[in-house]
Symmetry: D2
Subunit: 285 residues, 4 copies
């Protein structure tokens, strides 16, 4: 899973049938591509095929700009849909926050581990401006009221476009993003929800968890879709609690799970390990 300086990755989906793996690996072999990682998954119930293959571009016979076209010839008879990613293309990520710093700290203190650029942090509150600046990242404060949300979102979208943002992270943003906004970044907005979904959808999940007397609390990172807290789940984890844990203690323990679950989800996305189908994810890696 260590990253090679010059690799390409194909993420492929199509109806399942014989010869799919052979077709793809043959294509790579004949063009002198050395496979670094190959994962394949068949959903027998849906008769759907999924594949991720990563290969070394060094000595690969097809120039980068032509791979899509050439692979299209392989893909067509199988009705494959695919994404092609190059390890040398660095994605650009914006972080949306509100008042809580733990997820922001986690991302900023580890993003040197990832192949990503973070041109800006956006927030509806000014509280975390100091942290962003401390890490040399621009901070944009967009206060939101019930009345001006559409205008604010439009301004945010302008800013994201100007910065050529590929991926939006809602790092405890605490605002519901409109379907219009989501439509600009399909499967490219990752949220962290502070519960083990689908338990405790919506606001104040730790209060609900405390009231229900659960023995584990959790966090869920998912792609944002128009339906609240219902998008494809990328990663989840839990931590044990007991009767001694007040709501405040649950919030404290939950933060550690939230920040790690979000970091793992971002990493999967950045390594092109995530394939969304229906409302679910295949995570290769």
């Amino acid at each position: 899973m260590t990253e090679t300086p010059n690799a390409a990755t194909l993420l492929i989906s199509c109806p399942d049938r014989k010869g799919l793996v052979a077709a793809v690996t043959d294509f790579l072999y004949k063009n002198n591509g050395n496979i670094l990682q190959l994962d394949q998954h068949v959903d027998a119930e849906e008769s759907a095929f999924f594949m991720r293959v990563e290969w070394d571009l060094q000595n690969f016979a097809i120039p980068r700009a032509e791979i899509n076209a050439k692979f299209g010839e392989v893909a067509a008879p199988f009705q494959m849909t695919w994404q092609l990613h190059f390890s040398t293309t660095i994605p650009r990520m914006a972080i949306f926050v509100s008042k809580q710093p733990h997820c922001l700290y986690e991302i900023l203190s580890r993003y040197h581990e990832w192949r990503v650029e973070i041109p800006l942090v956006i927030s509806n509150h000014a509280d975390l401006q100091g942290i962003a600046h401390r890490f040399g990242v621009n901070f944009h404060h967009f206060p939101i009221t019930k009345d001006d949300k559409p205008q604010v979102e439009a301004a945010q979208l302008d800013l994201l476009a100007k910065h050529r943002i590929d991926l939006v992270i809602l790092a405890r943003y605490m605002q519901i993003v409109s379907p219009e906004f989501i439509g600009h970044y399909p499967q490219r907005i990752i949220n962290i929800h502070h519960s083990f979904l689908p338990a405790f959808i919506g606001a104040k999940p730790y209060h609900s968890a405390h009231a229900r007397g659960v023995k584990l609390i959790g966090a869920t990172s998912h792609y944002v879709t128009a339906e609240l807290d219902a998008g494809p789940i990328i990663e989840q984890d839990v931590v044990r609690v007991d009767h001694r844990d007040t709501v405040d203690e649950m919030i404290r323990k939950g933060k550690d799970v939230e920040k790690l679950v979000l970091a793992r989800a971002i990493r999967h996305h950045l390594l092109n390990q995530v394939l969304v189908y229906g409302n679910k994810t295949v995570i290769f890696g």
Copy 2:
């Protein structure tokens, strides 16, 4: 936590105020009772006090039959409610099953570890009769239809009464027990639900979990109350799943969690470590 041959346990609840621990420990000390284990919990929000204290009865100045009365004098000014248990009293437990054997096997293969007697297994299907007999436990087959449920439950209750049953375990019984039935065993019916409650209440939780694309599945053991899958939770745990896990795989992985979660819940109950308040549990130990 090893069990002493001759110990007593008090489980105490009352409104919180000063001097509660001192009053109880003083009572034991003055009567020559050596404390083996003491746990105490204050729910600050509810201003409620909970305590579990276990002490050696050897050399204890008060005869067993008089402890309740004598402790009543300590308890009265604090409005304490309490349960008194003796380690030498062996509880009697009935197991309700349906067709799946894993929880039944788990209980029967480990109950020599517990201080409990299991006079009978009850089922709405005959499938597991052989297993019960293999372990030398009586098996009673009560087929149930929509129409005769009240009569069947009445017959089951008769049988339980005849066998002086203290505790009922629903070990994947797959039947909803009526409020009348539950009323005979308040906080003495333990169920294992095959999901991480409150997610996936009701039937076929693994199918729902698979459809939602969760990355962890779980199991919940709880006291049965009139509201379905909503009683006080005793124990929960989870196991990781991924896109490769079909519903059948989830069911298979889930079984390991179910049986261990149920076994832990039963053990807590048998060791008198559980205090129910409202719809929650305090688990001491």
Copy 3:
């Protein structure tokens, strides 16, 4: 991961080079084999390639008896070593136990889930005879002293041979098996060690764990090799302990981990998901 009635599995190792996956998948495709599962792993450091591929034999062009020879033509130029398994061949497994029943119970109560036959249980003590008989499995009592170990092992080997045993499980056998014995079942003896190896090798690991004051205890299932507790690890897991846990409590909690870890290891082996290389394992699945 659900099992198909009529499938074949190839487990392949060889030096890494281009075209390996393509060669294998091409072979299957051209012979009308539908791939059910394909996993591949490259150890870049060792420049070693590993692959597991499972395909449907229905409509496969090559008769079962000829697959090995035909695949040999594909394998030769790549210096592949391989194992070929058929899902219709049921392995035969012997269980070695001593006095503790939990692992034996676990195996016997779940082996209907596996494709395996268990013709016999062998023990150096008579304690668990009743359990084996309860499950309808033959029990052979081989008392062992320091002086007669070679003769006893020879007799055990005779019995295993007579029963055409493929796999030996040391389910808390508590005896060190000789290198001669091991030589008869290379990579086919699975042990469960009651610690998180390599911590606490040898006897009484829970006592050592308690003395060291660890906060987690574990269990390790591994193939047995001539060096004590040092063979290739198949599966490990842990459980949390704290200062309240006596040695006896650790033993009790540890049992739950031991039996599940052993069960998972056996399952991996039976599904032909394990490839041993050097002193390590690749677990596909």
Copy 4:
């Protein structure tokens, strides 16, 4: 477990005998101290008694300066040793680092959650100076060679004394601290070791773990004693790895465990929840 603005905590050890809890709770009750949290533990094997009690100082009859003396009268007949802590006294903590930033980031980004001051970071390398400064913490660079270690440690001790440091954190410091140094901070130096001790003591534990083929890797936070990696363990945790994880992947995954385990250990210490006895810890909380 939420902290009260004005509370006191007693950590008590003594030989076990009757009346210990009664004596302490009586003392508090008679002096109008409301118990906020009481935990007690008996090590039956060692016949040792341990207790942590936290009470509200508001309305407590004894002035803070006299509590030690007054409690001494209670403690003497029982041969109690004890520590008395006030929630209003803020401990002062120094962090020793080397080149890896993850533990430093974790501490600096969360220490607003803790009652602690961090006057300085000390390192044998200059790499992390920017991070310390970013968080407004002084950074002191002490290069160390084999020859000047005693002088460097003496200078470090001077600096610690000057800053009235109570607690030293070795946050992946990668240097062995001398017994002389340790003697100045008995049970007040906390290290994070990047393995599940006692497995893989010493340098390069992830390399050893990879070579051994373990299926879980871990981290251990412990008090530093003269014997390397052998001090009383405060906290441990693990994370799953498999054959796909290279040494570099293990290092990456391990960092997440290391930083959380260290943060939990520091928190336990700062909340006065840790009692050391022999080479083990009692963790109340």
